[in-house]
């Protein structure tokens, strides 16, 4: 009896140990940035082949350093995303938004659109009418494409020693 108990326990213990590995093997990640970019090559200068929206689920295909090759839901388009754009947490979007995830547990603290969000910002602005967001909205429109970055480096005779991110 004691032996059986011990074996059951040892198996459970092994299960606990390998839990994180098993979770990774499933290979589904969430996009945690406003506009995720899928690139042709695992490099910050890589051409953008597609975009993924906040909260989108992607399937992990391959990993190379800080870069992950993923496919979007339909699996047709594949591309490289930097790991900082992805999270293993599931980002349950608010009702009314697309891609709603149901069955989120209370332990999923990190939920998209929760906490400090647009609603809180609006309320904060109402209380701080001296604060002007005009230039913040404007500066957020300043965007530089990988092509522009490549040209900028070439024209300035700047030669990257590696292609970004920790190897």
């Amino acid at each position: 009896m004691l032996r059986i108990r011990l074996i059951v326990f040892a198996l459970a213990f092994l299960g606990v140990l390998f839990l994180p590995i098993y979770a990774n093997a499933q290979g589904t990640l969430s996009v945690q940035v406003k506009e995720g970019e899928l690139r042709a090559t695992p490099s910050f200068l890589g051409k953008i082949v597609d975009r993924a929206a906040y909260g989108d689920r992607v399937n992990l295909i391959e990993e190379r350093g800080a870069w992950k090759k993923v496919s979007l839901k339909n699996g047709k388009i594949q591309g490289w995303m930097h790991s900082s754009a992805l999270t293993t947490k599931r980002l349950a979007l608010k009702a009314g938004q697309t891609n709603v995830q149901t069955g989120a547990t209370q332990n999923e603290l990190a939920l998209a659109g929760k906490g400090f969000n647009e609603q809180v910002e609006a309320s904060f602005q109402k209380e701080n009418r001296n604060l002007d967001y005009t230039w913040i909205n404007r500066m957020e429109t300043f965007k530089v494409s990988p092509d522009q970055m490549r040209n900028f480096l070439v024209q300035g005779d700047v030669t990257p020693s590696s292609e970004g991110g920790k190897p």
Binding site: K34, S84, L109, Q119, I136, G164
Partner: protein
């Protein structure tokens, strides 16, 4: 009794072995459930262990990039209430091309809303970076930069503050707990007016914590040295000469006025920063930047 001791030890080692926050929670839940089934710990004890693990894992990590972005926007608004924007398209375009290229090569190239740069219309020698990736540099600081390599180093230092989450770390611990407690209890539906009021209060508090250390008191010396080192690593990766950082610090040393409300107040003295950088790195090459690079730099900042 001996058996209980052994099993408890196993449970504890299971908890300790897996150190990642989320994994700990997962592991704790499983280990305590297993413990209860084996009759080693009572259900009440199990519940208590689970609860305390949840409380411990309530940390900065639980703020989503989306929330850091909204915090960043508000901090940026506070910065712009102290210094007006410099509405010069040419120079803003230039620092965005340079800055976003550097950010893209950093260890944290992807943040919720991306990195964006803006010049501030002031003679003060100052720069700021919000947790949301809004990076500001004054005209006064750009005037201290003799080359693109030097300006790159300044922007890379600010990118370093974002990556190392120095802004987020200046939020008081009690406020972090408070915010995350509201988030944990909040229902999945749209926020009610009471929750919004509560969150706005916590939000305002977090904004003043960050603005206070960023604008008034400065981060710790350690944070500044860390950002300098992050800058050295990043500019080299992109292909700039880190000696540019030393160049701009030397000019800053001459230009900073004692008692000023800028870097004179919020940053370690330039000579201390230089000494710290030198102590962590081999001697940088003193090769001058190619003429073509220097030319475009001088053109871009011609009217600064």
């Amino acid at each position: 009794m001996k058996k209980h001791f052994w099993i408890t030890g196993l449970i504890m080692s299971a908890i300790l072995t897996i150190t990642a926050c989320a994994a700990v929670e997962q592991a704790t839940t499983l280990a305590t459930v297993v413990g209860q089934t084996a009759g080693v710990i009572s259900p009440t004890q199990g519940e208590a262990i689970r609860k305390s693990t949840v409380a411990v894992s309530k940390s900065l990590e639980d703020f989503t990039p989306e929330q850091e972005y909204y915090i960043g926007r508000a901090v940026a608004a506070v910065v712009l209430s102290k210094y007006p924007a410099y509405a010069n398209t040419q120079v803003n375009q230039y620092i965005n091309t340079l800055g976003q290229t550097l950010a893209a090569a950093s260890d944290k190239p992807e943040i919720f809303g991306g990195y964006h740069f803006l010049v501030l219309d002031s003679d003060d020698i100052n720069a700021f970076a919000t947790p949301g990736g809004h990076i500001f540099v004054t005209r006064g600081l750009i005037r201290c930069c003799p080359s693109e390599d030097a300006l790159a180093a300044i922007l890379a230092h600010e990118i370093g503050h974002v990556r190392l989450r120095h802004g987020m770390q200046s939020i008081e611990k009690a406020r972090v707990t408070e915010a995350l407690t509201v988030l944990a209890t909040e229902s999945a539906k749209t926020l009610g007016s009471r929750e919004v009021a509560q969150l706005t209060q916590t939000f305002s508090g977090a904004i003043s914590d960050i603005a206070n250390s960023m604008i008034n008191n400065g981060y710790s010396r350690t944070f500044e040295y860390q950002a300098d080192q992050a800058s050295v690593v990043l500019v080299q990766r992109v292909g700039y000469n880190p000696e540019g950082l030393i160049d701009v610090l030397k000019i800053m040393e001459k230009k900073l006025k004692p008692g000023g409300h800028d870097f004179a107040k919020t940053h370690p003295a330039p000579q201390d920063r230089i000494a710290e950088i030198r102590s962590h790195n081999r001697t940088f090459s003193s090769v001058a930047a190619p003429e073509i690079r220097q030319e475009r730099f001088l053109n871009a900042i011609a009217r600064i």
